[in-house]
């Protein structure tokens, strides 16, 4: 993105992931490129099936055997796709950690929280049991689990959803990762609990100086936590930009449409500006821009050619022939039409 001197923490270039089976080929991720710096929060925002989880899992090589991966993935300069088993183990337990939407899939039901966190720490540092337990206690405190001492001996099913998610975050932080990958970690939580976990993650990320890639389908959540947002549609990143700019002046018609169709304070007397149609079948992507069939700004080339990324302003990218900012042809970004952003006035 911007060619600063320091090495990016994550560098993904031209990444494609396909799932090939006898019946069909799913083009889950298509020529995706992005970067994240140390200490930056990058949100990947997109709807169901757009390829967010697959992208995130590729960063840790957590894909099933029938996945075909092409392109480049570097974390701290190291080529993740070329790593052997040993290096991968080091990567997963040290440099990079991941938290998931449903903590029950990551926590083992037959061990206590203390045992699980302790074991993770021991595996990577070789410290003794008691020190590991102390460290586990410290981590539960860090994620603000009340009565942490007692919770060490609790089994996952004995904790509420919010506490389980905190325990999983504690486990992910146990080896001081430089990069935290979060796959919809608050989606399954209630509103009052979601905001607790979000503010916690933001605080930890800032205090520990970690980079974070945060996957969500929720614009509101992205607005709460992102420094930079990358918008994904049908396996492609269609727009990237700093959070405030991207929400204020979306360049890509899909981003603008998503903003307009997200219900928040719209006039109750009018219909919501919905995007017509539904996302494409990832087994049969359209020839040109995947959003063209639903796009209000569609023109002839959109149907035949996939638009290349364009960079109309610093730190901003949009893959669109007719994107809003490109009209001005200068560094100033033109506001989208009134109908695209009226929802934000209310």
């Amino acid at each position: 993105m911007d060619g600063s001197a320091d090495l990016p923490l994550v560098e993904v270039s031209d990444l494609s992931v396909k799932f090939v089976s006898r019946e069909a080929t799913v083009h889950a991720v298509n020529q995706v490129s992005f970067a994240a710096r140390h200490g930056e929060v990058l949100c990947i925002l997109g709807e169901s099936g757009s390829g967010k989880s697959v992208t995130l899992r590729t960063l840790m090589r957590l894909l099933p055997p029938h996945a075909r991966v092409n392109g480049g993935v570097r974390v701290n300069g190291k080529d993740v796709l070329a790593m052997g088993e040993r290096e991968l183990r080091d990567l997963r337990g040290g440099l990079v950690s991941m938290i998931f939407q449903e903590p029950m899939t990551a926590l083992d039901p037959v061990y206590t929280i203390g045992q699980q966190i302790g074991e993770t720490v021991r595996r990577h540092t070789g410290i003794d049991r008691q020190t590991a337990r102390d460290r586990a206690l410290e981590l539960l405190g860090l994620v603000r689990i009340p009565s942490a001492e007692r919770r060490l001996d609790a089994y996952p099913h004995e904790l509420s959803g919010g506490l389980r998610q905190r325990a999983m975050i504690a486990m992910a932080l146990s080896c001081n990762p430089q990069l935290l990958l979060a796959d919809e970690p608050t989606t399954a939580l209630d509103a009052t609990v979601q905001v607790q976990v979000l503010t916690l993650l933001r605080r930890l990320q800032r205090e520990l100086g970690m980079g974070m890639i945060f996957v969500t389908h929720d614009l509101g959540v992205a607005a709460e936590i992102a420094d930079t947002i990358a918008v994904m549609y049908a396996g492609r990143i269609v727009e990237v930009g700093p959070v405030a700019q991207l929400l204020q002046d979306p360049l890509h018609p899909y981003t603008a449409g998503l903003l307009a169709s997200t219900v928040h304070g719209q006039d109750r007397d009018r219909d919501i500006d919905a995007i017509p149609g539904s996302p494409p079948d990832m087994r049969r992507l359209p020839q040109g821009c995947s959003f063209a069939p639903r796009c209000p700004r569609r023109s002839a080339p959109c149907v035949t050619t996939i638009p290349e990324p364009r960079f109309p302003a610093p730190k901003r990218m949009a893959a669109c022939f007719n994107s809003a900012g490109l009209v001005s042809d200068g560094p100033d970004v033109v506001r989208p039409s009134a109908s695209d952003c009226e929802n934000r006035s209310g």
């Binding site: 169901s48 509103a191 607790q196 509101g220 169709s261 219900v263 109750r268 919905a274 539904s278």
Partner: protein, 340 residues
């Protein structure tokens, strides 16, 4: 606009539905004598032609309440009055179900996977005594109404449809028997935002065209604000606040409603939430806190909140805004209680 429904018995002032002290406690498996207090003494009315929104966090009893309203589960206690007739005595449960339909939370499993969707839609009218051909015609018409081409989509099976299309089928199925009232249990929660907006628009249009009354359940406050005329807020099986949407959202009275509203993302990175409005998770509904059920998370809790369950204010008419909090009752003894 003088649309008169021949089934309207009580006239416009008679509420479509009155729920009085509905209660449903589920026995806990493997724990004799323990109960989940899913719905615990809930009273409210649904007015003709309105959309009543029901919000609350997961497990607070929204779906259980919805099922009680249709007698899909039998209440332990309480009564229902539909358009002036007590359900069970003056009007049979079957008659109620002809006039009230439901769109279920889990839309994926509520369609028969082995049936073309037009047959699923035609099933209701057929069961209610229409001829097969008639039921098919009704299905065709209603598919058109929900924006699906009957020839193109009718013969398909559920797995051949997108989430938004499936939800349209569910709506079509509910409308095929020409109900007066529809209970929508999280009808858009499983949908992507771009599709959610389409379905909300559709629901609003259908309500106007078909003169419907809605009960709309959702955990998304913004959606509820947009769609509802009045809003009912639940916490652990009880109503804690009820009133017109504008009043609830602009001047919430109950500390829980205030916290719930303040937990919504701001959509503006310059005004992020710095401190969570309340801490902790909702407690277990098996052993709910005594007195006010919110007191364990409430910043204003005092001794009286532990001892006495606050009543839900007095309902003075269609637009009253009431809340169950000791702070609102000058006689409660709470130190913050307002002298009205």
């Amino acid at each position: 606009m003088a649309f008169i429904d021949p089934r309207d018995r009580g006239g416009p002032a008679q509420p479509m539905l009155i729920a009085r002290k509905l209660k449903k406690h589920f026995p806990v498996k493997g724990a004799r004598g323990k109960f989940v207090q899913a719905v615990d003494g809930v009273s409210f009315t649904v007015r003709k032609g309105e959309t009543l929104g029901i919000v609350g966090e997961s497990g607070c009893g929204k779906s259980t309440l919805a099922r009680l309203l249709l007698h899909l589960i039998v209440p332990d206690d309480g009564e229902l009055v539909f358009d002036g007739d007590a359900v069970g005595s003056k009007i049979a449960v079957n008659a109620l179900r002809r006039q009230v339909q439901m769109v279920f939370q889990d839309s994926h499993s509520s369609l028969n996977p082995r049936m073309p969707v037009r047959d699923s839609v035609a099933f209701g009218p057929f069961v209610q005594g229409r001829k097969k051909a008639e039921a098919r015609d009704i299905a065709r018409a209603i598919l058109g109404k929900v924006g699906l081409d009957a020839d193109l989509f009718g013969p398909r099976y559920p797995h051949e449809l997108s989430g938004g299309q499936k939800q349209r089928i569910n709506i079509a199925r509910a409308l095929a028997t020409d109900p007066r009232m529809v209970i929508l249990d999280e009808p858009v929660s499983a949908l992507d935002k771009s599709v959610e907006a389409q379905v909300l628009n559709l629901l609003r249009t259908l309500k106007r065209q078909l003169n419907l009354t809605y009960v709309f359940i959702s955990h998304d406050l913004n959606v509820v604000r947009y769609i509802s005329d009045r809003v009912l807020v639940m916490y652990l099986g009880r109503i804690i606040e009820l009133g017109p949407g504008g009043a609830i959202f602009e001047r919430p009275q109950h500390p829980y409603t205030t916290a719930l509203l303040a937990s919504r993302p701001s959509m503006d990175p310059a005004r992020r939430i710095e401190e969570p409005p309340i801490v902790g998770d909702p407690p277990n509904p098996i052993d709910p806190p005594s007195g006010c059920r919110f007191r364990t998370r409430c910043p204003f809790a005092e001794a009286v909140c532990e001892k006495v369950a606050p009543p839900l204010g007095e309902w003075l008419g269609v637009n009253s805004h009431i809340a169950a909090c000791h702070i609102l009752d000058p006689a409660s003894g709470h130190s913050k209680a307002t002298q009205a």
